[in-house]
């Protein structure tokens, strides 16, 4: 039985399945790519053949322009097996953002699962993570330090609503990444009872519309740009993290600057970004979720991709498993940290 490290390897372009002749989330355009989810650091454009869930393909169309993800596009349906060069390939939800999927591969009797980015906490805007038993599990490690224990996200949404009640004459502007975070926050606010229209920076609108088309109900949304300042008093406004403390935010009514991110756990991060109300809402697994997932998939061997590898490898060794750092470059950097 060939060990997965004989058929799954790291190349400069990214993680490559040799017999199947495909890359997973390659950093550059390639012949054949399976894309776990549509975040910019995982989904690049211009491949020959691109395989992903229907939602991920639809979101890539919105982000890159129709048909720009690849010359040919193939929908992967969760749980349905596709054969490529003798490799049985299928996807299952990763619970990260809408359409996000883990890639399971079986070759000559051994099975590897590439999780992509994932989380285990409930998210009304995407299907929950499905653990797949495997021999090698490839995990992300964005929040792989024991200091990261994300609180229930609904509590963070309630915190935001309570702050609006305390400062009804001010706008609350929340920095949140355009894909996944914004829609989840909107859904959480609805769940917490916020029925009023939610105002959006222009950069967030296309993806919110895409989510709606894909069946995620977000309630009344309005453009913040062009709205009178008085109308924005007491309103919740969502914008990309880069806009919340910049010139764009000057149109708002004495804004309370908020940021929704797993990094907001650390006070110094909030302080450095001038955030007045940090909201700890993350798309990624926290430390207990990472450890729980390793137990759930039961893999004797774990490969760690981007993030805080050292701590996770230490915990993997303590649990009697074999661990390895893949050192895939190019993920989670160049300012995309804000996406977390």
């Amino acid at each position: 039985m060939p060990h997965p490290d004989t058929w799954l390897c790291v190349r400069p372009e990214g993680l490559y399945c040799r017999p199947g002749e495909f890359y997973i989330d390659p950093l550059v355009a390639v012949e054949r790519a399976i894309i776990t989810h549509a975040h910019a650091d995982h989904a690049r454009s211009g491949h020959q053949a691109v395989l992903a869930t229907a939602e991920t393909l639809a979101i890539m169309d919105v982000r890159m322009g129709e048909g720009r993800s690849g010359v040919s596009q193939q929908v992967l349906v969760p749980g349905e097996v596709v054969e490529m060069g003798g490799v049985r390939v299928w996807v299952q939800p990763a619970g990260h953002v809408l359409g996000s999927a883990q890639v399971a591969m079986e070759f000559a009797g051994s099975r590897a699962v590439v999780s992509g980015d994932y989380k285990r906490a409930a998210d009304p805007t995407c299907a929950p993570f499905v653990p797949i038993a495997c021999d090698v599990f490839v995990t992300e490690a964005t929040f792989a330090l024991p200091i990261f224990v994300h609180p229930p996200a609904i509590g963070e949404a309630r915190k935001l609503i309570a702050s609006v009640a305390l400062f009804p004459e001010r706008s609350h502007v929340v920095g949140c990444y355009a894909l996944g975070k914004a829609q989840r926050l909107i859904a959480l606010l609805r769940e917490a009872g916020w029925d009023a229209p939610i105002y959006l920076h222009g950069a967030l609108m296309p993806l919110c519309a895409a989510y709606e088309r894909l069946g995620v109900r977000l309630g009344a949304l309005r453009a913040a740009t062009g709205e009178a300042r008085e109308r924005l008093a007491g309103a919740i406004v969502l914008a990309p993290p880069s806009a919340i403390a910049d010139r764009w935010a000057r149109r708002l009514a004495d804004p309370v600057t908020c940021l929704a991110s797993g990094w907001m756990t650390v006070r110094q991060r909030a302080r450095a970004k001038g955030v007045e109300l940090p909201l700890v809402i993350s798309d990624h697994a926290d430390w207990p979720e990472l450890l729980q997932t390793l137990d759930d998939v039961g893999a004797p061997e774990v490969w760690v991709t981007h993030g805080a590898e050292e701590a996770l490898l230490h915990a993997i060794a303590l649990s009697g498993r074999k661990g390895r750092a893949l050192r895939l470059l190019g993920y989670g950097d160049d300012g995309l940290e804000e996406a977390a």
């Binding site: 330090l145 024991p146 200091i147 990261f148 224990v149 609180p151 305390l166 400062f167 001010r170 403390a245 910049d246 010139r247 935010a249 000057r250 004495d254 309370v256 600057t257 756990t265 650390v266 006070r267 110094q268 909030a270 302080r271 450095a272 001038g274 955030v275 007045e276 109300l277 940090p278 805080a308 050292e310 701590a311 230490h314 915990a315 303590l318």
Partner: protein
Amino acid sequence: MIAFAELLDRLTLTPGRLAKIALLRRFFETEADPDRGWALAALTGELSFTAAKAGLIRQVAEARVDPLLLGLSYDFVGDLAETVALIWPARTEAAPPSVTEIVATLRSRPKGELPGVLSSWLDGSGPNVRYALLKLITGSLRVGASARLAKTALAEFAAAHGQVVAPDDVEEVWHGLSPPYAALWDWLEGRTGAPDAAGAPVFRPPMLAHPLEAGDLAALEASAFAAEWKWDGIRVQLVRAPGGERIFSRGAEDVSGAFPDLAGVLPADAVLDGELLVVRDGVVAPFADLQQRLNRKSAAAKIVAAFPLRVRLYDILFDGAEDLRALPFVARRARLEAWLARHPSGRMDLSALIAFGSVEELVAIRAGTRAASIEGLMLKRLDSPYVPGRPRGLWWKWKRDPLTIDAVVMYAQRGHGKRSSFYSDYTFGLWREDGELVPVGKAYSGFTDEELVRLDRWIRNHTTRAYGPVREVERGLVLEVAFDAAQYSGRHKSGVALRFPRVARLRWDKPFEEADRLETLVRMIEG
């Protein structure tokens, strides 16, 4: 403790003063007694614990957490209390301690029991409470809310209960109170009258002067005013009462501990207002000398001897138990002189009155202040009662004309609150002999909102490097910077620091090569 921890987190991150007051007020309204009182004491710096040190935190954490993971986490977070607050393994069986319980326990339990007590508290708390708890017991709560802000919030809290209470009213009784402040809440919520501070050495809110501007000068009626020199020290209030003696800063902070050489300075009960100075052989030393004595909780004997203090008295608020504040200035001045004659002291003297006959004569006197190393003039209406705050028209401060230099903008930083989207704080420099531009100071005021918009645009278009909220910019923008004095300092590479720098003019017209040289500034240093 949950509400207190949440309050601390928000106060730390909230830049706006009004927002901070709103947060404090809501806390006072929703928190029960005696917890809110103990919390108020913690916020105003009246509670300080020294039993717990960083070593204790490390000790309890290492007993619970894998040392390698603790180390990696600490490297990431950079603050031990925060790291431990976040990493502490959750156990939910117990409830977090109340502020009251923490205070009572730390005061009563022997030190040896502390590790066990702390561990069980951490077990019962969530991460935010753990953080607040660790900061509280190590005496390192820094929340960016001054004691004055808390008192303003208390006054607003009282207003919500139909009570007319000014922040100064709270100030007047504050130092006679002790936590958890039952008498204070009774008063603010309208159940009783103001607490009786009789006999306690309490702070009295000081009377402040308005800056004199050109229009005010034209209207000035010379015969109605007395003039004094404006001393460049720090304003202090000396208090002695049957309950003890205190030295307060202008901001109501009890600074007695920093000035052991002033212990027992008042031989009789009184409240006196004056300026704290370093004086050698009758000559007032530059402010830089006084700085050697400030921001210290205690003072070493060597420092005390090298920087001898003197309080130069302006005013008398109480003589014994007699409140003199309603008397006119001239009458108080006579009482002050008589008091000092009765109680002569080597550590106090009188701020002399300056004789003058006309406004013109005053103008001439002021013109000579820079040569005499004096900060300017104070003008006080002869009939002015001692009114807390900054009433208009009674006292004027009339500083000497500022010095100016033309300096080149080197870095810009984003402002706070309403200015957080603008690059509004500018580090500027002067040319050194070797052709290098060296920073000499920072200014963030002195321009209009329209000018700020233009400055912000210029900074964005001329950025060469960005470091977080700071941008390095091309040489190109010259500011005329006004300042009150220059002094030697190790804080800047240039070796010089400015007192009260502000932007006097934007010199869009001036080529940056023609900005001033560092030597020019060095020549302006006094003393």
